[in-house]
Structure formats: structure tokens, C-alpha cells
């Protein structure tokens, strides 16, 4: 367990901010803000909460923050519901893209107390309600937001309403609506994501110039009203235009997968770090975002929407492939190139492409394999559906030897520590000689690899020459 993940260690990336009340009798200190992993969180901020058993995080608003006598840090979270969690109560209504619902009423599922460490990051949520108390967001803020809300979901009556009540969970609702400082934060923090997204949407405009598809015209109307009028038909592939408005990593995560669930998700049973004896559940936030890509891959593979492309230029980028897929198949897709690490062939690039629908993926593969889609530098594309079976990672590395305990050696703990601590090997140890054997083996491999590459290159040149001389 790394020292960074131990909440009692001095390096734990957490600092208290402004203090609030202090309850004498229960020895509880309330706070108004705190800093965690270099992000400052305030009361009523919207945050992501990550649950180990699920890949999609929950979104909630911080209502209260406190530290108990035992030095446990807690937060009381008011929940937002995603449309797929309340699908049975939406009826015929189709939720807006990026819409979430604020919990209201007084009952189970409204809010929960969780350990503060369950917070995985800030979430940019903007309220678009026409309520008088709500500060109307600007176009820029709307574009930068990851989610919007203007309706509530009552957890007792299971009804949806766009009328904001006076209080939710004892808190005056005006605090839960847009706050001035939030909006400033939205404008500054998302500069990079908007510029990247704008670049890409401009690129796509070039590619689709010849198309007469009327929906493309929506691209030019990237206004507030334009956003509100676009609705997703859940389950069908979304229009190109809609996808342009997705900004930020999380919005891109997945289209709404409606699950037929008899009850709305019971949040109170889910996050339960306190019952965990060891505190090793705390997750590195960066790992969590990467995890989301793996989850996407898995989900796409399950749904038959994953395609592996081969025979690419090794320096090709994800964006270029997405553009190509769009140009050729008019399909919006999510691409990740395979990184050229030790075992990738230097001459062949690969990439995983996630399509929106299974039949589109199959169509694409059929077209690529049956016909011949040639990229520059004479590279006919190769494709296949699905993911290769990757074995689970070994717990120890081949070549790492167990330490031996001599009968008369008492200080075993220190010995183990010495072996597993990173260190440069000294030439007078046996370890050094063994390490040299490994160097030798690796050099042999590199040499063999080089020979193989040379012979493969010759074969390719031979055939490419045939191509040029017609």
C-alpha cells in the first residue's frame, strides 16, 4: 500500500479549508472547504464519487463536510440521478443530452454520508432551470459544463418535476443552483478541452463539406438554444452534430444505455468504505480515468462494437483515424491507437475503434476486408472484430526470484525490504552476475528481432515495387 494512499501519512494530499461550526458535545468540526489532490472543494460543489463495483461514478452535491473525533472525514452528499437510473419513471419523456436530475423529497436515496475519500473529482454541473433564484448560465458555461440539470426527481413519490422546491434536505435550494464562483471556474478550467474540441469540429466541417446532410448544419448553430433542442434517441446511433457538443472526457464516456430497472438505484447500499477494515480501497484518481477507457473497451467488446485495425502507419494518431472513419463510413467513433512499446512491431501500427452500433462495426470490417481501403504509403487496412484475449497480469515478474531464508539468518524482514527496494546492483554481488545474464538474453532478443524486421522489410519492398510498376 503506497504511502500516498494512507490517509494518516503526512503526504496524504489533503488539507482542511475554512472552518464552520463546532459541535462540543459530539466533538464534530464542520468545514466549508477542503483541498484534496490539489483541487479545492467547497460546500455545494458537484463531485464524482467512485464506487469500486461499478465503472460509472455517481454525481452528487456536497451538503456538509465534517471531521469526527476519530479524525474520520465525512461528507454528506445530495445525489443526482442519471436518466438511466430512473428510466422507469421518465415515461415517454426523453432526457436531454447531459441531463441529470437533482434528488428531492425526504426519503431513502436522497442523500448519504460517505467518507470524504470516496470523492474522485469535481464535476461541472450547470443548472439551466428558469427559476428566479437561478443565475442563468452563459453560452460558454453551457458548453463547458459536463452535465446540466433543471429538473428534480422526488425519491418518495418517484416523480419528476421542473419546479424547484424551497428546501432539499434542510438546505435552501438557492445554494444548490448556480453559484457565481462556479461559473468562473467553468470558464477557466475547461479552456484546453474546448480548444481541442473546437479544432476537431472544425476539421470535421472540412471533411463533410460535400455532404448535403441537413443535420450537419446544426454544427454552425452551437448556441444555447441549439443545445436544448437537440435530443438523443437513446439506443440509436446519434447524429454527428450531437456528438460535436460532447466536451470533456466524461461526456464522451458512453451513450445512454437504458437499463430496465424496476427500482431506482438504492444509493445507500452502495458506497460503504467505512465497513472496510483496511483503507486500501482509496483509488488513485488518474488510474480511475484510465480505468474508464478499459471499461469502454470491455463494454464495446461485449456489444460487438469493437474493431481492431492493423497495417497502419506506426505514427498515426487517434484523431486521424477518427477522421478517416468518418470520411469513409460516415461513422462517429472513438479510437485509441495501440502504444508502440516493447512488443509492438515497429512497422505496423494498430488501433482499436469503438463504433456506435454492432451492425456498423460489422459493415465496416466487411468492407475493409472484402475490398481494399488504401491509406497513404501503400497501406491497405486490415481489420477484425473484437479484442484479443489478454491473459491476466502475473503477480510477480518472471526473473524475480524469491529470497531465501537461511536457517541462521534472523533479520528476514530487513532482507526482504532490501531486496524489494529499488537499487542499482553492485558489481561484487551475485545479483549483479545474474542481472548480466538477463542483459545478455535481452540483447539476443533485440538482435533476433532486428533480423526478422530486415527480412520482413525485404518482402514488403518486393511487393510494393509490384504495386508501383503496373
Amino acid at each position: 500500500m503506497s504511502h500516498l494512499e494512507n490517509p494518516d501519512s503526512p503526504d496524504f494530499p489533503f488539507h482542511w479549508g475554512e472552518k464552520g461550526e463546532f459541535l462540543e458535545d459530539k466533538y464534530v468540526q464542520f468545514y466549508k472547504s477542503f483541498t484534496y489532490y490539489d483541487e479545492e472543494y467547497f460546500l455545494y460543489d458537484s463531485v464524482y464519487l467512485y464506487v469500486t463495483c461499478q465503472d460509472i461514478p455517481f454525481i452528487g452535491k456536497i451538503l456538509e463536510i465534517w471531521e469526527q473525533q476519530s479524525h474520520d472525514r465525512k461528507v454528506k452528499i445530495l445525489w443526482f440521478f442519471r436518466p438511466n437510473e430512473i428510466v422507469n419513471y421518465l415515461g415517454d419523456q426523453v432526457p436531454l443530452e447531459r441531463e441529470i436530475f437533482l434528488a428531492s423529497g425526504n426519503g431513502l436515496g436522497l442523500c448519504n454520508v460517505n467518507p470524504l475519500e470516496a470523492i474522485a473529482g469535481k464535476c461541472r454541473v450547470i443548472c439551466t432551470s428558469k427559476d428566479q433564484r437561478n443565475q442563468q448560465p452563459s453560452t460558454q458555461e453551457l458548453e463547458n459544463a459536463e452535465f446540466i440539470f433543471f429538473r428534480t426527481f422526488d425519491v418518495v413519490n418517484f416523480t419528476i418535476s421542473d419546479v424547484m422546491p424551497d428546501k432539499i434536505s434542510g438546505v435552501n435550494v438557492k445554494y444548490l443552483l448556480n453559484q457565481k464562483k462556479d461559473q468562473e471556474a467553468f470558464l477557466t478550467k475547461s479552456k484546453t478541452s474546448t480548444s481541442v474540441a473546437e479544432d476537431r469540429s472544425q476539421k470535421k466541417l472540412r471533411l463533410t463539406d460535400k455532404s448535403t446532410d441537413p443535420s450537419i448544419n446544426l454544427l454552425t448553430n452551437k448556441t444555447v438554444t441549439g443545445l436544448k433542442e437537440l435530443r438523443i434517441e437513446c439506443g440509436e446511433e446519434s447524429d454527428v452534430a450531437l456528438k460535436k457538443l460532447e466536451l470533456g472526457k466524461w461526456a464522451k464516456y458512453d451513450e445512454l444505455q437504458l437499463k430496465k430497472d424496476p427500482n431506482p438505484v438504492r444509493k445507500d447500499t452502495v458506497i460503504d468504505h467505512t465497513s472496510d477494515a483496511s483503507r486500501s480501497q482509496f483509488l488513485d484518481r488518474r488510474k480511475w480515468f484510465q480505468h474508464s477507457w478499459e471499461a469502454q473497451l470491455e463494454a464495446a467488446n461485449q456489444g460487438g462494437r469493437l474493431v481492431l485495425l492493423g497495417n497502419l502507419d506506426p505514427s498515426i494518431t487517434s484523431q486521424e483515424i477518427e477522421d478517416i472513419m468518418y470520411k469513409v463510413f460516415q461513422q462517429q467513433c472513438h479510437v485509441k491507437v495501440i502504444q508502440q512499446a516493447t512488443f509492438q512491431i515497429h512497422n505496423y501500427g494498430q488501433a482499436y475503434v469503438i463504433f456506435k452500433a454492432k451492425d456498423r462495426a460489422e459493415q465496416a470490417v466487411k468492407a475493409i476486408n472484402g475490398g481494399c481501403l488504401m491509406l497513404s504509403q501503400e497501406r491497405p487496412l486490415v481489420s477484425s472484430i473484437g479484442m484479443l484475449k489478454i491473459p491476466a497480469k502475473a503477480s510477480t515478474l518472471v526473473g524475480h526470484l524469491p529470497t531465501y531464508r537461511g536457517r541462521f539468518q534472523v533479520q528476514r524482514e530487513e532482507m526482504i525490504c532490501a531486496v524489494s527496494t529499488s537499487h542499482g546492483s553492485q558489481p561484487n554481488t551475485m545479483e549483479y552476475d545474474l542481472a548480466l545474464e538477463w542483459f545478455l538474453l535481452q540483447d539476443k532478443y533485440l538482435l533476433t528481432q532486428k533480423l526478422l524486421h530486415e527480412s520482413q522489410l525485404k518482402e514488403r519492398i518486393y511487393f510494393r515495387n509490384h504495386l508501383k510498376s503496373k
Binding site: S2, S195, D199, Q202, L297, G310, N311, S315, T317, S318, E320, I324, V328, K336, V337, Q339, Q340, A341, T342, F343, Q344, I345, Y348, Q350, C372, L373, M374, L375, S376, P380, L388, P391, K393, T396, L397, V398, G399, L401, P402, Y404, G406, V419, S420, S422, H423, G424, S425, L434, A435, E437, W438, F439, L441, Q442, K444, T448, L452, E459, F463, L467
Partner: protein, 202 residues
């Protein structure tokens, strides 16, 4: 659109700069975490970022690899030269960690080179090139298979070496243990007296 291509150039240049400061580490055990790397490589300079490269395409249990971003190119070069010349162990021994300078193709989120336009065309079946293109596709698959076979062979060789070293280490320990035991229980001193040999422990 000059501004966007300028921006693309700038982004690419910045990325190249990042790549020049980054080190590619492999032969890492799965027990190596970000914290371990930061601690171990702290002596070479400031570790800015650690990114592990996931395996999505090789169907064998391969060691982990990571991209470690240092503060500047000098630190990265120092790290690489140290690890190339002297074996460096992390979370286990004696298999050493390998360090190489990072290349832009190792990054999944690399920006496209500015001013590069990739041509795409469908080759008609009636075109003479079609046959050759098909052959190139087959070649790609064949090369992939050959490559995988080489990897498999290499992994087998590595297992053999590991086993061999383990055996050797075990027998060595047994030997030392044996010597220890006879020294401890006095056999050596007795034998020395018997043969009239002087034992000198220095």
C-alpha cells in the same frame, strides 16, 4: 486557417519536447507502482509524471512498461545511461529494469504532425493494384504471426533463464547453509584439530 495550423505546430512542438524528457521503462514487475517509480528515480531528478502502458494486443503475460516524464532532457538521459550501464532492480531481483528514450509513437494521446494529410482511397477490384494490395494485407498478417511467435519464444527463453537462476541460487544457499551449520556445531573445529590444520577466521 493559419492560426489553427500554427496552433497545431505549437502543440506538436510542445509534445515533442515532452517526449524528449520522457523515459520508457520496461521489464517492470506488476508490483511496481507509481510511488515505487517516483521513489526509485527520485535520485535522478524530478519525476513529473508516470503513465503505465496497458497491454491490449499481446496475448501473453508480458512484463509491465511505463512512460516516466522527467523534468528535463538531461535528467532523462542520465537515468537512461545509468540503467543501461548498471543493472537497476525494482521490487525484486535479479532481473533488471530496462530504460530507453521515449518515442512519440509510444504515446496514445499524441497530436498529429502538423500539415500531414493522410490520403485514403478505395482500390477497385478491377484495378491491377487490387491483387497486390491483397497480398500486402496477407503479408501484414503473416508478419504479425511471425512476430508473435518470436515473442512467445523469447518469453519461453526468459522462463528458462529464470528457472536456471533459481536453481543455481538455491544450490548456492544450500551450500552456504551447510557450511554455516558445520561451523556452528563445531564440526569444523574438531576436524581442524584432528588434522592439525590451523583455522584462521579473519
Amino acid at each position: 486557417m493559419t492560426t489553427s495550423s500554427e496552433e497545431a505546430r505549437k502543440t506538436y512542438a510542445e509534445f515533442e519536447e515532452k517526449v524528449s524528457r520522457t523515459v520508457f521503462l520496461d521489464n517492470l514487475s506488476t508490483q511496481v507502482t507509481t510511488a515505487v517509480i517516483k521513489q526509485a528515480l527520485g535520485q535522478f531528478g524530478n519525476v513529473m509524471n508516470v503513465e503505465f502502458i496497458p497491454n491490449y494486443t499481446i496475448p501473453y503475460p508480458i512484463p509491465q512498461s511505463a512512460l516516466v516524464e522527467m523534468e528535463n532532457e538531461k535528467q532523462a538521459k542520465a537515468l537512461i545511461s545509468e540503467m543501461t550501464n548498471y543493472p537497476f532492480m525494482m521490487s525484486g531481483m535479479p532481473r533488471p529494469v530496462r530504460a530507453k528514450p521515449a518515442k512519440i509513437e509510444m504515446f496514445a494521446d499524441r497530436p498529429p504532425p502538423p500539415d500531414r494529410k493522410i490520403q485514403v482511397r478505395w482500390v477497385d477490384p478491377s484495378d491491377a493494384d487490387f491483387v497486390v494490395a491483397k497480398k500486402l494485407k496477407q503479408l501484414c498478417k503473416k508478419h504479425n504471426a511471425e512476430h508473435l511467435a518470436l515473442i512467445k519464444h523469447q518469453l519461453e527463453e526468459e522462463e528458462k533463464l529464470a528457472k536456471h537462476q533459481e536453481e543455481m541460487l538455491k544450490t548456492n544457499y544450500k551450500k552456504y547453509e551447510m557450511i554455516e551449520s558445520i561451523v556452528q556445531d563445531g564440526t569444523t573445529s574438531r576436524l581442524a584439530r584432528h588434522y592439525g590444520v590451523r583455522l584462521d577466521y579473519d
